[in-house]
């Protein structure tokens, strides 16, 4: 049974079982990849998998279930499971959407990626390894070097008549190279991915991995205190990404966001503009329809420093008596939740270099160490970082073994400047450098 047939059978079973409404997500995924170590291919992987999930409504209440087994008995059991779950959940007054016109975007697909062979990938990875070892005398080891491709075909179907198919693919290469100097080891990590195979530039990938492995060697101690901090565009996406759930209406409704009751109020400096941009095809999460069949739309969350909107899916919109903003997300095995599609913080007018030069004394942070001291609920940030001490506009020394302590929502009000420089990764979030005043540093 292929995926389309399985989605069709699941629809029939749901109707036969008396579901009032339902939506189905089917996914068919393939991947291939390999890793190299010490001039040899160490591991090769090939995969194909399928998944089928349903949300159905009985007496107005939703029930979910999923299966990776595309067989009639498993599909029948999935409907039974979903129906039994609908007995536990609360009634929702939502109506699943019918067919509507959608924005036309280029298909996120490149046939050249499908044609990429294991041999070509092995050659590229071994080239990168050789170039790294040739470029850096202090490179001790390259424990992580992998390359692969992923492709997925998805079907969204619902009881109101939507049948939407989509496919997407991409390649990716990641390197972790360890440099050693004076008994101190540092790992330089560089990752590149996308749909454009011209970016699979082994010279550039090797050069960046070496640069990042070497740049944080020879750290020097520094004093604890309060410093202005330039958060590099290399890490701002990760940092801001930790707190994006605060903008989800469902999180606000559950009392888990500090942005509750802040609509229209100032929550950031005026130059900080935050948007969800689902139609930006240069970013990795472009989509025309969300996981509930709602057409996607661009949405401004922060403008002029004020909170303009929350992100809604059908259920959270119903609770607030408003419309979904088309930000429902769901994998075949999960419940509907909320997400930005592509997240963009608007650029400022100065480059990253210009911002650094504007600093008399402060820190430039290029590496975050974990995020377990950060809480999206409280906004708390307590995190290990590595980077550079900046004096008179120049990097004067490497610093590591330090922690920053602040609060994300305070940080938004303490931004002194935003750069015009973004990282060049193929990702779903773009945030330029942020220069923030008065951050507490423990060393």
């Amino acid at each position: 049974m292929n995926l389309s047939e399985a989605v069709e059978l699941l629809s029939q079973e749901a109707r036969r079982a008396g579901a009032e409404q339902f939506d189905i997500i089917g996914q068919n995924m393939r991947s291939q990849g390999l890793s190299v170590y010490n001039k040899k291919v160490q591991r090769t992987e090939l995969s194909q998998s399928v998944g089928l999930g349903i949300r159905l409504f009985k007496n107005g209440a939703p029930g979910y279930a999923s299966t990776e087994k595309l067989a009639p008995d498993a599909i029948g059991q999935t409907v039974k499971d979903a129906l039994s779950h609908a007995e536990f959940t609360a009634k929702l007054n939502i109506e699943l959407p019918g067919k509507t016109s959608l924005v036309e975007l280029p298909e996120p697909w490149n046939d050249e990626i499908e044609a990429l062979t294991m041999e070509q990938m092995a050659t590229a990875a071994l080239e990168v390894e050789a170039k790294i070892l040739a470029e850096g005398a202090e490179i001790e080891n390259i424990p992580h070097l992998g390359i692969g491709t992923d492709s997925a075909q998805g079907i969204f179907a619902n009881s109101a008549g939507i049948w939407h198919q989509r496919r997407a693919n991409q390649w990716g290469m990641g390197v972790g190279a360890v440099a050693l100097r004076d008994q101190v080891r540092k790992m330089g990590v560089f990752h590149r991915s996308g749909r454009n195979l011209k970016l699979l530039d082994t010279d550039h990938i090797a050069k960046m991995a070496v640069e990042r492995a070497l740049e944080l060697l020879s750290p020097q101690p520094m004093a604890s205190g309060t410093y202005p901090v330039l958060f590099s565009h290399r890490i701002t996406s990760s940092l801001v990404g930790l707190f994006l759930s605060s903008f989800h209406a469902e999180v606000v409704q559950k009392g888990q966001s500090r942005l509750a009751e802040k609509l229209g109020q100032s929550i950031a400096v005026p130059q900080f503009v935050l948007r969800s941009e689902p139609h930006r095809t240069d970013l990795s999460r472009a989509k025309v329809m969300d996981s509930e069949g709602i057409p996607t739309q661009a949405l401004t969350l922060i403008e002029d420093g004020k909170l303009q909107n929350y992100l809604y899916h059908l259920e959270s919109a119903q609770r607030d008596g408003t419309q979904s903003t088309g930000h429902g997300v769901r994998g075949f095995g999960s419940k509907v939740s909320t997400s930005f599609h592509n997240t963009v913080v608007a650029p400022g007018s100065s480059s990253a270099d210009e911002l650094r030069k504007s600093m008399t004394r402060g820190l430039e942070i290029v590496k975050l160490e974990g995020a377990s001291g950060c809480s999206a609920v409280s906004g708390e940030i307590s995190i290990g970082v590595q980077g550079f001490l900046i004096e008179n506009g120049q990097r004067s020394q490497v610093v590591d073994g330090i922690t920053l302590s602040t609060n994300f929502f305070d940080l938004l009000q303490q931004i002194e400047a935003i750069s015009s420089t973004y990282h060049d990764n193929f990702s779903a979030i773009k945030v330029p450098d942020l220069l923030v005043g008065g951050v507490s540093v423990s060393a």
Binding site: H85, S372, T403
Partner: protein, 458 residues
């Protein structure tokens, strides 16, 4: 698994020169029920199903997985995986009769009792936490379970079946005041069926989480700096898990991405430290009947009196590093090739008392409840959040503090563990690495680390 299909897969692997072929078939039924703010917010059930095939050429790993277990597809998958390979491996062994490593006979099977069985436990937790204070603004409670049927067959003749069941309760309680929010959780987990829920003190767990959330909500931020730290028992063991456990897996050692590479027999920790990874503890969340390569599970002493004894190993890691198999090969599901992973990892009980540890510190931190953390095994750099801490002043506890983070390097911290308590306890967690997320237990008695960098508000 149909034996004829397995034979066809083995024959295909052999014709392509593989030294070793392994088939891992899995069907897992997982379900979860979540109560949030007195209503069921989530009810879900998933069936994961598929086969992973691993071919070894020496220690080079080729791995493929699929949900389509037809002979035609599996043979085609192996051909694609090993395309262009050749060789002349020794004749493969005949499959042995199937044996069972574990069965569900003596447990209350979650699939039979169903999701409804969980409701009462969830409501009890909710009610208990809400009684605490008006500062409790949200309570969620969930119970997840997963029942797996596994079959492992390999070209050395192994044919073993394992049935596994795990159940985990989680309650997260959020306290709030003046726009500030703090959450705290308790999440015990068990290797077993629903029988583990019968005596579970869900009210106590919910109240414990709620009380901690309120204490932290009303606490001042800690001022950071280098200081001695007394680390709590139980989940405090996460620091050893992350900072020392991962670098003691052959998966790190074989790539020389471990500060402990080549150090077996050397003193790597204070002599007060004995560390163990034990997959055999009955009912523990991280226990297993057999590992995911079919190797019998064992108790592995990693560090004894400060001296490194061995590493946790899988088949490939054991061969490359030159240590015995420890029954530590694990994977999240058929979608991952197995690698060496921790099971129930703990620092063994010592002889010091908690009171003596606190009394020995003039100015430091008692990290009573650790949060999560991560480590880079290649550099040893780690970071951990402290969910709840207390300042220690002049040998006495001096009030709750919040916002602390611990950072350092694993191999530098081990020699600084100078006191090890008698009160060993264990705590459940999930561990993510190259073979996916697997259930693990961390544990330790209270321990004192003489110096560590504590991040806070200077």
């Amino acid at each position: 698994m149909n034996i004829n299909i397995a034979a066809a897969v083995f024959e295909t692997g052999r014709s392509l020169g593989a030294d070793f072929v392994e088939i891992y078939m899995e069907e897992t039924r997982a379900s979860a029920l979540t109560l949030k703010d007195k209503v069921i917010e989530g009810a879900n059930a998933n069936t994961d199903f598929g086969v992973g095939v691993r071919l070894l050429y020496g220690t080079e790993v080729l791995y493929a997985y699929t949900s389509d277990i037809s002979q035609e597809n599996l043979v085609e998958l192996v051909r694609g995986l090993a395309f262009g390979r050749q060789g002349n491996p020794a004749k493969y062994a005949t499959l042995s009769p199937m044996t069972f490593a574990g069965t569900l006979q003596d447990i209350q099977d979650p699939r039979v009792l169903g999701q409804g069985y969980k409701l009462d436990f969830l409501h009890r937790a909710d009610g208990a936490a809400r009684k605490l204070s008006p500062e409790i603004v949200q309570v969620s409670a969930s119970i997840i379970d997963a029942v797996s049927h596994i079959e492992i067959l390999n070209s050395e003749g192994l044919h073993i079946c394992d049935e596994r069941s795990r159940v985990r309760f989680n309650t997260t309680v959020t306290a709030g005041k003046n726009g500030d929010r703090v959450s705290a959780s308790e999440a015990p987990g068990f290797f077993g069926g629903y029988e583990v829920l019968a005596d579970l003190p869900v009210e106590d767990l919910a109240q414990k989480a709620g009380e901690r959330a309120m204490r932290v909500l009303n606490a001042p931020y800690i001022g950071g700096g280098q200081m001695p730290v007394v680390m709590g028992n139980g989940f405090g063991g996460v620091i050893f898990h992350e900072a020392c456990g991962h670098p003691l897996e052959t998966e790190s050692v074989r790539r020389k991405a471990s500060p402990f590479y080549g150090k077996i027999g050397e003193k790597i920790a204070h002599s007060a430290v004995t560390a163990i990874d034990d997959g055999t503890i009955t009912g523990e969340w991280g226990s297993i009947n057999v590992d995911d390569e079919g190797t019998p599970v064992q108790k592995t002493v990693l560090i004894e009196d400060g001296v490194l004894q061995t590493f946790m190993s899988d088949r490939v890691g054991a061969a490359e590093v030159g240590v015995p198999l420890s029954g530590s090969a694990r994977r999240e599901s058929y979608k991952y090739a197995p690698v060496s992973r921790m099971r129930n990892t703990y620092i063994d009980a010592g002889s010091d008392s908690f009171d003596d540890m606190i009394a020995s510190v003039d100015d430091g931190l008692y990290a009573s409840k650790m949060g999560g953390g991560s480590v880079n095994p290649a550099t040893g750099e780690f970071n951990f959040a402290v969910e709840e801490g207390y300042r220690i002043k002049d040998g006495k506890l001096a009030g709750v503090v919040r916002g602390a983070t611990l950072i350092g390097k694993g191999d530098e911290i081990l020699p600084r563990i100078s006191m090890v308590g008698q009160d060993l306890t264990m705590a459940a967690g999930m561990c993510g690495a190259s073979s996916g997320m697997v259930p693990v237990t961390v544990g330790q008695p209270h321990i004192k680390v003489d110096k560590i960098l504590v991040g806070g508000r200077a």
